[in-house]
């Protein structure tokens, strides 16, 4: 695979142009802590998620990286006994504000999971449009068709499915299903896209197509991607955060993180001494 053989250290240098433009923080996380029935999973994490950038969250299993991600669209609290404290500011507005409706947050912060989760009873078209139905005003007819097409084009799936939009979504391959889920998340035009190990259940070819897609998506959205694959973090992310035992050990530009980590634990993890 071409992308894989690319040396990690030079990856940063190949990028340029738009990357050099100054970027603002889309999401500001302040002293975020999360726990399950009193058992802490994320401890006092503060960081910024930059607009038009891919932020990778790495760390060993059980380090709280998925929990952290699930706090960013308030999915964490859907588990019984789960609580979160601190502030998560989306464009300056605290999403934990009691007046905020969590379902409204999820229109602005899309999420894709480890396993592809197309709705089995719905067609490809209906899957993409699923998120639009619950947000007012919900588009219909031509407008809906246009949104579905745009979402599928953005997730690089349009050419593969344009002739069978009415076919069941479960007939697609695993990689296609995952890109369909990304299209479904993009249809509501979110500002932030959360990816929870999006390639963990995919084969290498599908993984590559999803990675390329994530790389493209930075143009429009801020992406936060949890991954247990350090090469993947190095390939597609601009910023990497390393989590350990619920704490964020280090957060730095990816090139810096993988060449000159500041913390000894980060270095031990990325050189493969544990995890």
């Amino acid at each position: 695979m071409a992308t894989m053989s690319r040396p990690i250290t030079t990856l940063r240098l190949e990028r340029g142009g738009a990357d050099d433009a100054p970027v603002s923080a889309r999401v500001r996380i302040e002293a975020l802590s999360a726990s399950f029935s009193g058992k802490p999973a994320v401890k006092n994490v503060s960081m910024d998620v930059l607009d038009h950038r891919v932020t990778a969250i790495i760390g060993p299993s059980g380090c709280g990286k998925s929990t952290f991600l699930r706090c960013l669209n308030r999915m964490h609290e859907t588990v019984s006994g789960a609580t979160a404290t601190g502030r998560v500011l989306l464009d300056g507005h605290d999403i934990f504000d009691p007046r905020v409706n969590p379902t409204a947050i999820r229109k602005h912060v899309g999420m894709v999971f480890q396993k592809p989760t197309p709705f089995p009873t719905m067609s490809i078209r209906e899957n993409v449009a699923a998120g639009l139905k619950v947000h007012r005003p919900s588009p219909t007819g031509r407008e809906l068709e246009a949104i579905v097409e745009r979402a599928l084009r953005r997730s690089a799936l349009w050419d593969e499915v344009k002739d069978r939009l009415g076919a069941p979504a479960t007939g697609l391959s695993g990689g296609q299903q995952q890109r369909l889920c990304i299209a479904r998340a993009l249809a509501t035009d979110p500002e932030v896209l959360l990816l929870d190990e999006p390639t963990a259940s995919l084969d290498p070819i599908s993984t590559q197509s999803v990675e390329e897609l994530v790389y493209e998506l930075r143009k429009d959205v801020a992406v936060v991607m949890v991954t247990h694959n350090m090469q993947q973090a190095a390939r597609v992310s601009d910023v990497t955060a390393f989590f350990l035992h619920g704490e964020m050990v280090e957060c730095a530009p990816t090139a810096k993180m993988f060449t000159a980590p500041q913390d000894a634990r980060t270095e031990a993890y990325i050189t493969g001494r544990f995890g």
């Binding site: 669209n73 989760t117 069941p168």
Partner: protein, 318 residues
């Protein structure tokens, strides 16, 4: 052969074959081989015996069904004619007539019973599955199990006490309510099981799209579980269609054709019972025919249920 020695893959078998020819098996090896052969033979015999016993149990298990169908066919088929399906019973002593009134009555009572019971059962099952940790869910699940084990005549008493006695007359309504009371716990439990089979990841996917919990349950979860729920409901309907006891003092039975839900109505099981205990030869034959029709009805519903499970309806495709 030392592991370092490289042997071309193809020549390996030739080596082995020559080795086998050159060295004769020792006495110890021959004994071991004989022992292995004996063990193997013993295992084969035990296996054959056990498999035959199991096959025998399977055959015995279906013998009653085969005998029933055979006997029903022999006694009932000869009495089945067009008149049986189109005519109402003739007055006592007159030969002929049919059970059109009872067939219609069964369809009406079971249909109304299903219309009352299915929404309640599906709703309760969905609640019990989606809110499984709540106290109410635990209580409902337990009570549904108790109700499932309740003798069906008790359901008849329930409907009599709450509908027949206050209103002062037997009615199709009361019969339908009694059957619905039987249907609800069955549908509740099958719905719960089917809903629990829907993967948690689908619920999360819906929530992450901004669906509320209730909308997730109604549109995503229920829709995904539909095929299983339909199957379970049809099996339950097939069961209540053959019930006699709950109808005895609710729908009561009727010698005449009635389409009113407020009046006593005929039903196949009731008519069969009444005809079977009568002293008339002609009624006996009609009872056999009625039983055959009833079993065919139940069988048809079961077959439809099977078909519904197999053709996992693609509700999404156009």
């Amino acid at each position: 052969m030392s592991p370092l020695q490289t042997v071309p893959a193809g020549s390996l078998n030739a080596h082995d074959a020559r080795d086998a020819r050159e060295t004769r098996p020792s006495a110890r090896q021959r004994n071991a081989a004989a022992r292995t052969a004996r063990t193997l033979r013993r295992r084969r015999v035990v296996n054959a015996i056990m498999v035959s016993l199991l096959a025998l149990s399977a055959v015995i298990a279906v013998i009653p069904l085969v005998l029933i169908v055979y006997h029903l066919g022999r006694s009932g088929l000869s009495s089945l004619n067009v008149a049986f399906f189109t005519q109402d019973p003739k007055s006592v002593g007159e030969v002929g007539g049919g059970m059109a009134n009872a067939i219609l009555g069964t369809l009406m009572v079971v249909g109304v019973g299903a219309a009352i019971g299915m929404p309640i059962g599906i709703g309760a099952g969905l609640y019990v599955a989606e809110r499984r940790a709540t106290k109410l869910a635990t209580v409902v699940r337990f009570l549904a199990d108790v109700l499932n084990g309740l003798p069906s005549i008790v359901m008849g008493i329930f409907a009599w006490e709450f509908l027949v006695r206050p209103l002062g007359h037997f009615s199709a309504w009361a019969g339908a309510v009694a059957l619905a009371a039987m249907l609800v716990p069955m549908v509740t439990r099958t719905t719960e099981e089917m809903v629990r089979l829907v993967p948690q990841s689908l619920r999360e996917a819906a929530l992450a799209l901004g669906y509320s919990r209730s909308r997730t349950a109604l549109t995503v979860v229920l829709r995904t579980a539909t095929a299983g729920i339909v199957t379970g409901a049809l099996v339950a309907i097939a069961r209540i269609a053959g019930e006699t006891a709950p109808l005895l003092f609710t729908a009561l039975g009727n010698q005449f054709r009635s389409t009113s839900l407020n009046k006593p109505i005929a039903a196949l099981p009731l008519q069969i019972f009444q005809y079977a205990v009568s002293p008339y030869e002609d009624w006996h034959r009609q009872a056999w025919a009625g039983a055959l029709v009833l079993i065919a009805l139940v069988l048809t519903i079961s077959l439809v249920a099977r078909a519904a499970t197999q053709s996992r309806v693609d509700a999404g495709s156009e």
